[in-house]
């Protein structure tokens, strides 16, 4: 297993290099730069060129990339032009917020998906299965941002059960119990909204996995041994069906990143998704490339996590 994990981790290095180059080049290709639209029409264009030259923006892209990468490796993501502060500082609290929102969403996704997927798979083609599959279709068909708006309007504004923006009630002392509870309270509604909509893929995946495993020959073997139906389910069918769910985790994380961009903006939740949209509209390229890079790294780490979990639980991979 160690051999596999190390090898699998090493594969990440070229992935990360390609990812960073792509993101950097795409950033360069975008129209305008931090100066466009910022300076008055009366400023001498020659002066602007001078600034550009000073900042190194006229250097060949690979030199700029090398400079940028050197900084990134030392933990320096550059300076935000709009906020006039280091990007790392800007990201600091937001990345923590996004992380907890993702964790809460993932937990809720599994809390919903596992019992529903198991019921749907175990009693496939009965009314229970049809009901759950119906829910999945609705989840599949409903756009996340519309659903999130409805949730915000209903539970946030109309019923007033949940806060409608922010990640914490202002004025609380970090580290106190009230502070933590307030944070949890703020991320609950966005997390529930996202989980309810995105869980359908996990439900269907688990359901199909169970329906598939039910028909395997080794299930007949288990019955022929004299195992009760309950035991056949718990020991043989579930165990073999939950495993691929672990592999699904990486995919899940990628989905979360996409979802969080909508959710954070709608719920005014100060996280990475919100920062991404802000930096795009403000043309804050250093922030934009940094956030995109971090999202990309999160996806790659998600895939790595899946593979390592799978290698722990699946003996067929473990050996190789």
């Amino acid at each position: 297993m160690w051999k596999f994990s190390v090898r699998r981790t090493l594969i990440m290095i070229p992935q990360l290099i390609v990812l960073s180059i792509l993101i950097f080049v795409l950033g360069q290709l975008m129209p305008g730069d931090a100066l466009s639209g910022q300076v008055g029409p009366d400023v001498d264009p020659a002066r602007l060129d001078e600034i550009r030259e000073q900042m190194g923006w006229n250097d060949p892209w690979h030199e700029q990339y090398a400079r940028w990468m050197g900084g990134v490796l030392q933990g320096d993501l550059g300076e935000s032009f709009r906020f006039k502060m280091p990007v790392t500082e800007l990201i600091g609290q937001r990345i923590v917020n996004s992380f907890w929102l993702s964790v809460a969403t993932l937990i809720l996704t599994y809390i919903i998906a596992i019992p529903l997927g198991i019921t749907s798979g175990r009693f496939n083609d009965t009314w229970r299965d049809q009901l759950i599959t119906g829910y999945s279709y609705v989840g599949f068909a409903t756009p996340l941002f519309i659903f999130a708006l409805v949730m915000l309007w209903l539970f946030g504004f109309t019923l007033g059960w949940f806060p409608t923006s922010g990640s914490v009630t202002p004025g609380l002392e970090p580290g106190t119990f009230e502070y933590v509870m307030s944070k949890l309270y703020h991320l609950l509604l966005p997390a529930i909204s996202m989980a309810l909509i995105t869980t359908y893929s996990t439900i269907q995946y688990l359901r199909n996995e169970i329906v598939d495993t039910k028909q395997k020959d080794f299930i007949i073997t288990a019955r022929a041994k004299g195992a009760s139906e309950t035991r056949v389910y718990n020991r043989h069918i579930l165990r073999n069906s939950l495993l691929p769910i672990a592999a699904f985790l990486g995919f899940e994380i990628t989905g979360l990143i996409g979802g969080s961009i909508f959710i954070e903006n709608i719920f005014g939740y100060p996280g990475m998704g919100q920062l991404l949209v802000e930096s795009i509209s403000l043309r804050d390229y250093t922030v934009l490339t940094a956030v995109t890079l971090l999202f990309g790294i999160a996806s790659i780490l998600g895939a790595l996590l899946s593979d390592i979990i799978l290698s722990i639980v699946d003996p067929r991979i473990r050996i190789k």
Partner: protein, 337 residues
């Protein structure tokens, strides 16, 4: 007469296909005696597995009528929990495909141990471990201590079938059902597995139902043979009689389609057509008649029944009295043309 171990009476196993039930095993009666190897032969699709699964109560969606009497109990009428006390303990089963019949995520020890655990809750973990080791040695698995902790995908097909056999005999069953145990294996491994079953048969004192379509296997292993066609038994005899004096046209066709090294054979017989599918199965008259069209219609009975022609030798339908293979000159012409 030998002691009865299992008595199947008027068993009908039907599958639902498009709102209708079709019998894959049709009003079948058969007895398995203690300590005998009863071979069930027939082409693919004639209902052999459907019969074996019925005996084990393994069908999940089939309709089962009739009785399967085992030690004064009727397996066909058992509740699931009663059934679970019998299978794996009194009746063990070996399946056709060892590659898919083992749980890919369980170590060999756990898989065999589960059979032991299910029927003997008191057995200690170490005792169970020892017994698994013992069983693995018994079925001829080298380096058993090591194999115990391996997963199925690390073993060859032959080894996996040995594991399946160890599992089936773990609780010393009185009846062992082997559903084409060697079909999925290559030839050299086949004979090793058969030798193993032969060896175990002498040690175990169990009745064995050996399902196969290989008549070579029948000749080597069986005491008695039941020939099955389209869900029915068409002939039952002890193995010597069956090979020396086969009666039913289906039995004779099967025997004639196997190359025989002892006798000189000019040609092999090929049985015309195929086993009809369940929906197309003729339910009236002699079911084999369509595949021997040269035999006159009047040779068949309207309602063919299994009748005893000699003690222990039963045949269905009267057509056997009028049956002969199409004459040789004709077939040679056929071959030449």
């Amino acid at each position: 007469m030998a002691d009865k171990l299992l008595e199947i009476k008027n068993l009908t196993t039907s599958f639902r296909i498009k709102d209708d039930y079709h019998a894959a095993v049709d009003n079948l009666s058969l007895t398995v005696n203690k300590n005998e190897v009863l071979a069930i032969v027939g082409e693919s699709g004639c209902g052999k597995s459907a019969l074996a699964f019925s005996i084990m109560g393994l069908h999940t969606r089939a309709k089962i009528d009739g009785d399967i009497l085992y030690r004064d109990h009727n397996i066909a009428k058992m509740t699931p929990s009663e059934l679970n006390k019998v299978r794996g303990k009194d009746i063990g089963m070996i399946f056709q495909d060892p590659l898919t019949s083992l749980n890919p995520l369980m170590q060999i020890e756990e898989q065999i141990g589960e059979t032991l655990l299910l029927h003997n809750k008191e057995m200690s973990k170490t005792a169970r471990q020892e017994r698994v080791l013992d069983l693995l040695n018994k079925v001829g698995i080298p380096r058993a201590e090591y194999v115990m902790n391996q997963f199925p995908h690390e073993l060859s097909g032959g080894m996996r079938q040995r594991v399946m056999i160890a599992m089936a005999i773990a609780n010393k069953p009185e009846l062992l059902i082997a559903d084409e145990p060697t079909t999925a294996l290559d030839v050299t491994i086949q004979s090793q597995i058969l030798d193993l079953i032969n060896k175990l048969k002498d040690e175990m004192n169990a009745g064995i139902v050996l399902i196969t379509h290989d008549l070579g296997v029948v000749a080597e292993m069986a005491d008695r043979v039941a020939v099955m066609y389209a869900g029915q038994i068409v002939e039952v005899a002890d193995v010597k009689t069956l090979f020396a004096n086969p009666l039913h046209p289906y039995t004779r066709s099967l025997l004639n389609s196997v190359p025989n090294s002892d006798q000189e054979q000019d040609q092999l017989h090929v049985i015309q057509g195929i086993v009809p599918s369940l929906q197309n199965l003729p339910r009236e008259g002699c079911r084999f008649s369509a595949r021997i069209p040269w035999v006159d219609e009047s040779a068949h009975e309207k309602h063919p029944e299994l009748r005893e022609v000699d003690p222990g030798h039963q045949v269905r339908c009267t057509c056997y009295k009028h049956f002969s293979f199409p004459d040789e000159t004709k077939e040679e012409q056929h071959v030449l043309s």
